[in-house]
């Protein structure tokens, strides 16, 4: 358990986050079924800076967040807060888990599934608003919120793409992702070949020693 925070404060933060997430999940059609499929999984997030442990337990159509859990864990991820934020918002969580700075233990597939559910929360604003404000006002307000939510997502996506293009193509501050992945693959291949060569050399040296003996 993270020692830096008073347990009451940590528990209060997790309770607030759990309540917000579950409210969003309840308003997002289809997310309940997807979450129910992860019912037997337990995810551990160990944040090193700031020190904080969070355990996510999907159950039914809800998600439980806990600061302490001493049972078996399906997937455990360690890293700093910014790495977790990158994973949560990533469009390619698998690549982020493999190539990023996060340390992963256990089965990654259920974690990627959970990340997709949380990242794709499509909130249905209309039902609760119509219940509270009535058909006409609720529908109007829901349309405004839906448009604002959609615009926000589109704008942030577009900004991300443009920034990426500027960094790669205009300023050439960093190579494109595919080029980088090719380079990593080549480095990995080279590493494997060097290892094979090393073991062949070792085998030959051994045979030479046997011939001389």
């Amino acid at each position: 358990m993270a020692a830096a925070l008073d347990p009451a404060l940590q528990t209060a933060l997790l309770a607030a986050l759990e309540s917000t997430l579950n409210r969003a999940l309840a308003l997002a059609p289809g997310s309940g079924e997807k979450l129910a499929a992860l019912g037997d999984c337990v995810f551990a997030l160990h944040c090193q800076a700031p020190p904080l442990d969070v355990f996510l337990l999907p159950g039914g159509d809800r998600l439980r967040l806990m600061g302490v859990y001493d049972g078996p864990v399906t997937t455990s991820v360690s890293g700093v807060a910014s790495d977790f934020a990158e994973l949560l918002t990533s469009t390619d969580p698998a690549a982020k888990l493999i190539n990023g700075r996060l340390e992963l233990r256990g089965d990654s597939a259920p974690l990627i599934e959970l990340q997709k559910i949380l990242a794709a929360l499509e909130v249905d604003w209309e039902a609760p608003l119509v219940d509270t404000l009535g058909d006409v006002a609720g529908h109007q307000l829901a349309q405004v919120l839906r448009a604002a939510w959609g615009w926000g997502r589109q704008a942030s996506g577009s900004l991300g793409r443009q920034l990426e293009e500027f960094i790669h193509e205009e300023a050439r501050l960093s190579p494109p992702r595919l080029e980088l992945e090719d380079f990593y693959r080549d480095v990995q291949q080279l590493g494997l070949r060097v290892e094979r060569l090393e073991s062949r050399a070792r085998r030959l040296r051994k045979r030479l020693q046997q011939l001389h003996a």
Partner: protein, 249 residues
């Protein structure tokens, strides 16, 4: 002539035999407004303390849980959801008024199948040896006449490997916080009790009973003396409340 054994009732020294009855009167008086007063007195933080208790309990599906001095059933309700139909939760309280309020509240929430309600004294628990995976007592131990006897009784009914969690008011770590807490307890609490529950004496007793309750280290030693292993405690809200945990070896 045999001198009668004495114990604390708040700051007063009373006969050991009389304490249970006096505590019972306090809780008969506050039972109907207990939840409201808890929310007001702690600004809702008691829910967070209880939530952490549930987390640390490690209770799983199918477990048997005993919630002693369970009052209006906050912990028992949470445990009943976690253990599911294969598990069982016993809500025990020495006070029939509190037990009745707790039972009505849980039934109103549709919690019934895996719950039992038992009027029981923590010092003489009416259960077989090795019956429970987890026992909790939240804000109840300080009202028990003989705490050592109660701890031994809890150890007896726990299964080997089972956990006891004692959530109780304790000693604030910071002297400034301690002074502010004293002022709040002795000046504000009785007034709040008079206004909301029409009973300032009971809330005066509450403040006094917290002051005479053993501090963190003393309670840990008491649990070890009773036979619990791996005893530890977690201070919450600057030590205003501490959660002690012990395991039956």
């Amino acid at each position: 002539m045999n001198e009668k054994e004495k114990t604390h009732f708040g700051f007063k020294e009373v006969d050991k035999d009389a304490k249970a009855g006096m505590v019972a009167d306090v809780f008969h008086s506050v039972a109907s407004r207990y939840d409201l007063m808890n929310d007001l007195m702690s600004a809702g933080i008691h829910r967070i303390w209880k939530r952490f208790t549930v987390e640390l309990s490690g209770v799983r599906k199918g477990n048997a849980v005993l919630d002693i001095a369970g009052g209006t059933g906050d912990l028992a309700a949470r445990f009943a959801e976690i253990v599911g139909p294969a598990g069982s939760v016993v809500l025990a309280d020495i006070n029939d008024s509190m037990l009745q309020v707790g039972r009505d509240k849980l039934l109103d929430h549709g919690l019934l199948d895996n719950l039992e309600f038992v009027q029981a004294d923590a010092q003489y628990l009416p259960f077989a040896d090795d019956s429970f995976d987890c026992i909790t007592i939240a804000f109840g131990l300080r009202n028990v006449t003989d705490k050592d006897r109660a701890l031994r009784s809890m150890l007896r009914v726990l299964k080997p490997g089972g956990r006891l969690l004692v959530l109780e008011f304790s000693k604030p770590l910071n002297p400034l916080l301690s002074k502010a807490y004293d002022a709040y307890s002795f000046k504000v609490l009785p007034v709040m009790g008079r206004l909301v529950a029409n009973d300032s004496d009971s809330y005066q007793y509450l403040a006094e009973s917290i002051r005479v309750h053993p501090d963190q280290e003393t309670l840990k030693d008491m649990m070890e003396d009773a036979g619990f292993s791996r005893c530890e405690y977690h201070n919450m809200t600057g030590g205003v409340v501490a959660l002690h945990k012990g395991v039956k070896a």
